[in-house]
């Protein structure tokens, strides 16, 4: 480059610049490529993440079923004889399922053979049969085809995760079982369908019957509590800080606190929930009420910050006009400012709710990680949440749980994408430019 050490003639200067141009040009190109490389790396991670989850999760939405001809023996299925659900669930469905599978396999003899045949079926097949009978009481006493889930090991075998080539001693299922599965398969009895257990089943250690229903409802209840608390509080705080608060020490303290809360790690909110709501107030563990309150306090800064931005975007002329025709300050705020700022506030709230839906660590702290089979029906009943369910399933070793976990992740991501898309649409549609 030209420098100021000595005087250069313009020709000399131009020559020196020209000499550096090639180097500078390629350095420019390198810099540009670095930028492209950085973005490609980030996008590659995104693709890897999503392809990994989709490739495991989409098959996880399906599972293998076997359809057996079952004789619904009234005497054994309905011990009390009144066809009530209690009686049907107490019946001997398990034995009937076993007999049906043995029949389908041509009545094998010997204890080992029978055991192998039984191991094909999911251990929850008896419940499924009882359920079927409760739903179709008119079929009792007849022989009808009923669809059962296969055991998760058999399912893994059908998917090719368990290979025939592996020596029998190292395989989770033995040769006898494989022969039987082949026989059922050749008879066309095994089908591969969308898993009804995934969406309608509850937590279970058996991979083939585990489902997300309870966790999903727990998440919805928790989010409902969170919304009911965080939205009014957040909007009220934003209104106070933007429209009313005088510039004084108290206001400053509130603002500092909101900024600090936004920086506190989420797990700390969980610890606070544990120490205050559960230990000090004696509220029960694992309930959506406590979970919702903790998540509400956590999402409060998000909602406050976006609501303040929305209120600030309402032009002063609106307020002046309202005040000018004699509205009080509260009337101005509640009749004009808040309705005009509402789209922005709702957008921030939806984004805050999406954050809360994906949050796991604080819920672990307040015990929503417990193994809960029943579907919760209220905010004070023990429940778990979808991300926590994912966390628990991720710990299980069975091959099928990897797919189920990924399937649950797809459901969670679908919810998150829907919520974020709704926020974007809302912002585009309703937000006014002044």
């Amino acid at each position: 480059m030209t420098d100021s050490r000595g005087r250069l003639s313009p020709q000399e200067a131009a020559k020196r610049v020209a000499a550096t141009l090639g180097r500078r040009g390629s350095s420019e190109k390198r810099f540009r490529y670095l930028g492209v490389a950085a973005i490609s790396t980030a996008l590659m991670f995104l693709v890897l993440l999503f392809s990994g989850i989709l490739s495991n999760g989409l098959p996880g939405m399906f599972q293998h079923y076997v359809t057996l001809e079952v004789y619904l023996d009234k005497e054994r299925m309905d011990p009390q004889g009144d066809m009530s659900a209690a009686s049907l669930y107490a019946g001997d469905s398990g034995k009937i399922v076993n007999e049906s599978v043995l029949k389908a396999l041509g009545e094998p003899k010997g204890r080992m053979a029978k055991k192998a045949a039984r191991s094909i079926m999911s251990s929850a097949s008896d419940q499924r049969l009882a359920q079927f009978a409760v739903a179709n009481p008119e079929l009792i006493g007849q022989t009808v085809p009923v669809k059962f889930a296969l055991d998760d090991d058999i399912d893994s075998f059908m998917r090719g995760f368990i290979s025939r080539e592996t020596p029998q001693s190292e395989r989770r299922i033995n040769d006898q079982v494989i022969t039987y599965v082949d026989r059922l398969n050749e008879a066309g009895l095994i089908s591969y369908e969308i898993s009804d257990y995934l969406f309608f089943g509850s937590a279970s250690r058996n991979a083939e019957i585990a489902g997300i229903k309870g966790a999903l409802i727990g998440s919805i209840l928790t989010l409902a509590v969170c919304l009911v608390i965080a939205f009014p509080l957040g909007v009220a705080t934003a209104v106070y800080l933007e429209e009313i608060a005088p510039k004084n020490r108290f206001t400053e303290i509130i603002e500092i606190n909101i900024n600090n809360l936004a920086a506190v790690p989420s797990v700390v909110f969980g610890i606070m929930g544990l120490a205050i709501f559960i230990v000090a107030f004696g509220m029960p563990r694992s309930i959506p009420l406590v979970g919702g309150v903790v998540l509400a306090l956590m999402t409060l800064p998000t909602i406050i910050i976006s609501s303040r931005a929305a209120i600030r975007a309402v032009p002063p002329s609106i307020r002046d006009a309202a005040l000018g025709i004699g509205a009080s300050r509260m009337q101005t705020i509640f009749h004009h400012v808040i309705p005009l700022a509402m789209p922005g506030m709702l957008t921030g709230t939806i984004i805050g709710m999406a954050q809360a839906l994906g949050e796991t660590a604080p819920l672990l702290m307040i015990g929503m990680v417990a193994f809960i089979v029943d579907v919760p029906t209220g905010v004070v009943e023990p429940a778990t949440a979808l991300p926590v369910q994912i966390f628990m399933w991720a710990d299980f070793a069975e091959r099928m749980f990897i797919q189920k976990t990924s399937a649950a992740i797809i459901v969670l991501l679908a919810f998150l994408i829907t919520m974020n898309a709704a926020a974007i649409v809302l912002r585009k549609k309703l937000e006014r430019r002044w």
């Binding site: 420019e28 920086a263 989420s266 796991t360």
Partner: protein, 461 residues
């Protein structure tokens, strides 16, 4: 009456008073040519609020307070032997009384437990009746006071607006209360922990073995419980360093490209895509790290002859870095865009190429903001929980090697506090001390970042 039905009654009474108040003021207006001070519905709101609000507040106080009062009262039933014991034994005694109250029986409780349980049940019935009577009386009485105030020159709007104002003030104090709650809940337990374990042992200790606590108390086992936090802080730093090594270059260069080079169309596609990375829940990253990245890192390490732990800091750090990329890129993007165009134009005018402008003019001008973004990212990485719980180990190795398994502050907190825990053991309390350190560090980083931004923000305005 149960709390929820009582709340419903209060609501109904309040709404009735609203209706009555509004009707009364409407009639007053219709009866003569009096001018009301406020619009009729403000008279209704005033009566309704006066009826429902104090009743609701009382209801909440009763609902929260009764168990706390009972817990004190029930102590008179404890035999002297129990009262002399430490807090842990009293907690157990209390739990046994509560079991009797809930109708759960374990074995044969002593007579005093049964007596205390029976007393508790009577108190509960009494307080419930008392609560119903008082709350309903307040609801009816408060409304009556409001109703008697209704007169054309009564300034009901001002009254209602004053109540609303106090409501708004109360809402904004929730942020303060939350901070106070967080600090107090962590501070008290930490102080108790430091009474058991000297602070210098905790802060400077090189070994972390709280799991020997149970064995130590039972008098068996050959390990001694130690509570040195350094291994976890080194682990946290190690994983954060790996994360930043990934996130800072990728995030920064993405931001530079998006801000300076990309066409608006590329920008409008790539920026939201990068932000998706920020919206993915951390539990999903954790699953990805444990399932895909950790085995990959392990086999890649083995292929070149390195021994990699199956839960290496490298895998967790890599994934955490991916999580932080959008954080750094979008904050830096904002900062770079905030650099005035005149600076760039000046550099171009002197003949600089684009990359020279970026390196020698734009980046130095944006540096404070970028540094602040990186500090905020560090505080994010330190506080991140699920990725390390799922993908980093639990063994507290004091190691600077990213191929080893290390543990972090957050994953220890989760491990200690998940599930049932007794609140009196040093092991449980140590989680609170760790949380205290975590809060101090993240808030300090946050404060630091804000100071940098504040100091350099208005340089070009």
């Amino acid at each position: 009456m149960s709390i929820s039905s009582l709340a419903l009654y209060v609501l109904v009474i309040g709404m009735m008073y609203f209706y009555v108040g509004q009707r009364t003021s409407l009639e007053q207006r219709a009866n003569g040519d009096v001018r009301l001070h406020s619009l009729p519905h403000y008279y209704g709101l005033w009566t309704g609020l006066l009826s429902a609000l104090p009743a609701f507040i009382l209801l909440v106080i009763f609902a929260v307070g009764d168990d706390i009062v009972f817990a004190q009262m029930v102590k008179q039933y404890y035999p002297a032997a129990v009262l002399e014991q430490d807090v842990a034994q009293q907690t157990i005694a209390f739990a046994r009384v509560m079991n009797v109250v809930d109708g759960i029986r374990f074995g044969n409780p002593e007579q005093w437990v049964l007596d205390a349980g029976a007393a508790w049940i009577t108190w509960q019935a009494t307080s419930e009746m008392l609560m119903s009577v008082i709350v309903l009386a307040v609801a009816l009485g408060g409304g009556l006071i409001g109703y008697r105030q209704i007169a054309p020159d009564f300034r009901s709007r001002n009254g209602v607006e004053r109540i609303i104002l106090w409501g708004l003030v109360a809402s904004s104090t929730v942020a303060i209360l939350t901070t106070v709650g967080i600090v107090l809940s962590v501070l008290f337990e930490s102080i108790r922990f430091f009474q058991l374990i000297p602070p210098q042992d905790f802060i400077l200790g090189l070994e972390w073995n709280p799991q020997f606590e149970g064995a130590e108390r039972a008098g068996s086992g050959n390990g001694e419980a130690t509570y040195g936090m350094l291994p976890m802080f080194v682990g946290t730093l190690l994983i954060s360093t790996v994360a930043l090594t990934v996130a800072v270059p990728v995030g920064l260069f993405s931001a530079i490209y998006l801000a300076e080079y990309a066409t608006p169309r590329v920008r409008s596609v790539v920026k939201p895509l990068l932000e998706i990375l920020a919206g993915v829940p951390t539990v999903v990253y954790g699953f990805f790290a444990a399932l895909t990245v950790a085995p990959f890192v392990r086999s890649a390490g083995e292929a070149i002859g390195l021994e990699v732990a199956s839960e290496s800091a490298l895998a967790a750090g890599l994934v955490m870095g991916v999580m932080i990329i959008p954080f750094i890129s979008s904050l830096s993007d904002d900062v770079i865009n905030a650099v005035p165009q005149s600076l760039r134009d000046a550099a171009y005018g002197l003949g600089s190429t684009k990359s020279e402008t970026v390196r020698q003019v734009v980046l130095p001008a944006a540096l404070p903001g970028i540094v602040a973004a990186v500090i905020l990212a560090v505080s994010r990485a330190i506080g991140e929980t699920m990725i390390v719980v799922m993908a980093a180990g639990l063994a507290a190795n004091l190691s600077f090697n990213p191929l080893d398994a290390v543990t972090t502050v957050t994953s220890q907190i989760v491990t200690i506090l998940v599930g049932d825990q007794e609140f009196e053991s040093a092991k449980t309390l140590s989680a609170f001390a760790l949380a205290l350190m975590l809060i101090i560090i993240t808030l300090a980083l946050n404060f630091f970042a804000l100071q940098i931004v504040k100091k350099y923000r208005e340089q070009y305005d």
